[in-house]
Subunit: 157 residues, 2 copies
DNA sequence: TTATTAATAATAATCATTACAAACTAATAT
DNA sequence: ATATTAGTTTGTAATGATTATTATTAATAA
């Protein structure tokens, strides 16, 4: 944890930004909830628990800054809000997501998987890939199991 | 054009919706600007040119409906608005996009490219893929060329 | 110390989207 | 033909996320 904070502190310094107490509090929340996909409001409420004096605008500003420095990625799953997702340690590219259209759960894939596809895009389209956003929409393992169970019930009532 | 309209009309009918004049006007705009990525406001203004009596709320409702029926896909490139993108004729999956971080241009890729990756996701994550969203961020051909030119100028002033 | 600058908090303003109420249309039943 | 109904549209108000503004505070430099 402290290690990650130190690293982020350095990234900020290298762009002549400071790790203010508010920024640190925000980063700590993001680290604590690394697997979640929090909205700005979510982050704000969580930061407020430990640092009640923080303002919503500051959280927005901090998230925006972290986003510019590629420390977090701003994503949008189609509900009306932006969500902020910490980059995995040392990751060069943003990770992928599996969104279940039944239950809304979001799973993460850290494996890159797109190496070949990016080669094709660079070669055939002449496009120099810097980053990507990949989300699969479908049915998660749990919902598949639930559907099978329901079918069985219908077949043998 | 008429052929596409007919097909969409049938898709609506099969879900017991009608192709009202307003819906048809909206669809026509989407067909005419198939390669663009229009916001609801964009669509509204374009429809208004030919059918000045249409209301903004109707356009939103129509786009929402077309989106539910998978006739258009609702996407978000990170600016604050949703954009509505007609599915390519007969396409089972949504197409991909190349967004240039220099000039903002958006190019389309109709080739699927993700067959293998989806296999891996299904096998290794047990996730049943129904659709996907893939966007590459990077430098488009034009901006690459422009950058090279600039470098040459700097080297030989 | 005093001046300068960066960062924050509180709040107002903006802007995309949605909700709502009244009017309209087309289809169906009487 | 007339009344009824469900579905649709319009214009506008309301909502809600995000951004801009302004006064204040903290940090830094002169
Ligand atoms: Mn994630
Ligand atoms: Mn497209
Ligand atoms: Zn699920
Ligand atoms: Zn470009």
């Amino acid at each position: 944890m402290e290690h990650r904070i130190e690293k982020i502190k350095k990234q900020l310094h290298s762009h002549s930004y400071k790790l203010t107490p508010q920024r640190e509090a925000t980063v700590r929340v993001l680290l604590e909830r690394e697997d979640d996909h929090l909205s700005a409001e979510d982050v704000y409420l969580l930061v407020k628990e430990k640092s009640p004096e923080i303002g919503l605008a500051t959280v927005y500003r901090t998230l925006e800054l972290l986003s510019e420095l590629k420390i977090v990625d701003k994503i949008n799953f189609g509900d009306g809000v932006s969500r902020y997702d910490l980059r995995k340690e040392g990751a060069k590219h943003f990770h992928h997501h599996l969104v279940c259209i039944e239950c809304g759960s979001v799973e993460e894939i850290e494996n890159d998987l797109l190496g070949e596809v990016e080669q094709i895009v660079e070669n055939d389209w002449g496009f120099e890939v810097k980053d990507h956003r990949l989300t699969f929409h479908g049915i998660c393992r749990q919902c598949q199991a639930a559907a099978v169970k329901e079918d069985v019930q219908k077949a043998t009532p």
